[in-house]
Symmetry: C2
Subunit: 280 residues, 2 copies
């Protein structure tokens, strides 16, 4: 597997890189961003996966997420994957930002025409970790995962399904119940088919109801987020965690919206929280 360097620049004492590779999971070229902190020059560092939201690529959080200062302080590698397969040969609904390219929902699609390329779960859980392990000075026994919106959904569900893999999981304004949220249920139907039983493994609340467990979650949610009532509804996660005795620190952040203004404000607190669990 050849890793093509798109860019690589010194930042906060470490290196912020962007890389491209041919992916077997998604049958197309995939681009991702990695920040390598200065500590990696002398020792293997833990890794935090940051999964982005609808319409984003690896670049949005790299540009606006303000994670490098804290990552350099705590010595954490930050990997920011893309949100879907991309390219001319990849099916898309160009006029629908909630489906297709930019909207992979971190699942493995089972339905035509999506199932050939839309295998983001395998990409994030299997293929990309191998690439990271091969190319960076990373301690793969210390992994954590976070994400925003659709990426918060990805972080929660992948943590619940791989609880031995990730030491910690947090989320910014996650979609906690995508089977029923208006901006995701159409995508789930197209990717996974009409049988909603197949959707439950990609729905954090349903996974918990069905017995999946994780040690604890940290979730930040802005109170002025325009998607709060229609798509995010963290109270459903609160109910599911309470019923399952999963500790959830849900912080409703007064006046914050859904944007990177919100994410960047609380990024350092999330990195500090993960660092305690990765380095402890």
């Amino acid at each position: 597997m050849t890793l093509e360097i798109i860019s690589n620049a010194k930042c906060f004492g470490g290196m912020q890189g962007v890389f491209k590779h041919s992916s077997s999971s998604t049958q197309c070229d995939m681009t991702f961003a990695v920040f390598v902190p200065p500590q990696a020059a002398t020792k293997a560092c833990p890794v935090l996966w940051y999964l982005s939201g609808l319409t984003c690529s690896h670049a949005n959080v790299m540009d606006k997420g303000e994670y490098r200062r804290a990552a350099a302080h705590y010595g954490i590698i930050i990997v920011c994957p893309d949100t879907s397969p991309r390219g001319d040969g990849v099916p898309d609904e160009a006029e629908n930002w909630q489906m297709g390219q930019g909207a992979g929902f971190y699942l493995n699609a089972t339905q035509a025409p999506w199932s050939t390329h839309y295998n983001m779960e395998s990409y994030i859980v299997s293929e990309l970790p191998e690439i990271i392990a091969q190319n960076f000075n990373v301690d793969m026994t210390r992994q954590a995962i976070t994400g925003h919106s659709m990426g918060g959904h990805g972080a929660l569900t992948l943590a619940l399904k791989n609880s031995n893999r990730y030491k910690s999981c947090s989320a910014f304004a996650p979609i906690v119940q995508p089977s029923h949220a208006e901006w995701s249920s159409n995508a789930f139907r197209q990717y996974l088919g009409d049988d909603m039983a197949a959707w439950r493994q990609y729905d954090a609340c349903a996974l918990i109801e069905d017995g999946a467990r994780f040690p604890e979650f940290l979730v930040d949610q802005g109170t002025s987020d325009g998607f709060l009532d229609s798509g995010l509804r963290p109270w459903f996660l609160e109910q599911a965690c309470k019923a399952a005795d999963i500790p959830l620190l849900l912080r409703m952040q007064e006046g914050y919206d859904h944007s990177y203004n919100f994410i960047s404000t609380f990024m350092e607190e999330h990195l500090s929280w993960h660092a305690e669990r990765l380095n402890g």
Copy 2:
């Protein structure tokens, strides 16, 4: 004067806004970004002007500059203006990124067809400060100025020409001698005419040679900056400051390039440095 709100969102406890207004200096609509720290709710705050480089608008540093955490900590209002007049009626050289829109060089043009709109010096020094004073809880007796590349040139020259206005001045990889640098001398000729005597008031090194003074400067410069030898050449500023007994803290930052990866790394140190001088 009506200020149109383009966006305004809570960030790091303050508000990051983008505003548009009709400008008399540049004879077109101008857009700028302002970060208002939480302290402004209860008291007038000092202001730091950040002038951006070639090809940038107000948005690049707002997205990638990572100034809000420190600005909220120190209680400083950050104003990020655009780099030139813009619009269909504004002369441009669309194929030349070193001239026209995105390349105003913080001067008042004297030559046709540029002189009608390209009056960025008046805009930054006179018109925009009035707008900021009228619309935000700012203490205009405490102003500081900084900038990057072309904007570093702007910060240095405007500070030297208005030494009673600004309490402190720093720069990231500034163009210190634009009359002779290859990426600026063509623009100076078109904006200001063939008589190079008229260029000296827009050239930090020439201003100092001609007697302008400022208490001290802080300048950061990456050693891996691709423009170091052709366009930036901070050693000319070092020579001019030494001859004029102006204290200059020039820090050559090993391995850093010309991008926002460099700027964001040292942004907080610049804000801390200005805060000492604004709040002291």
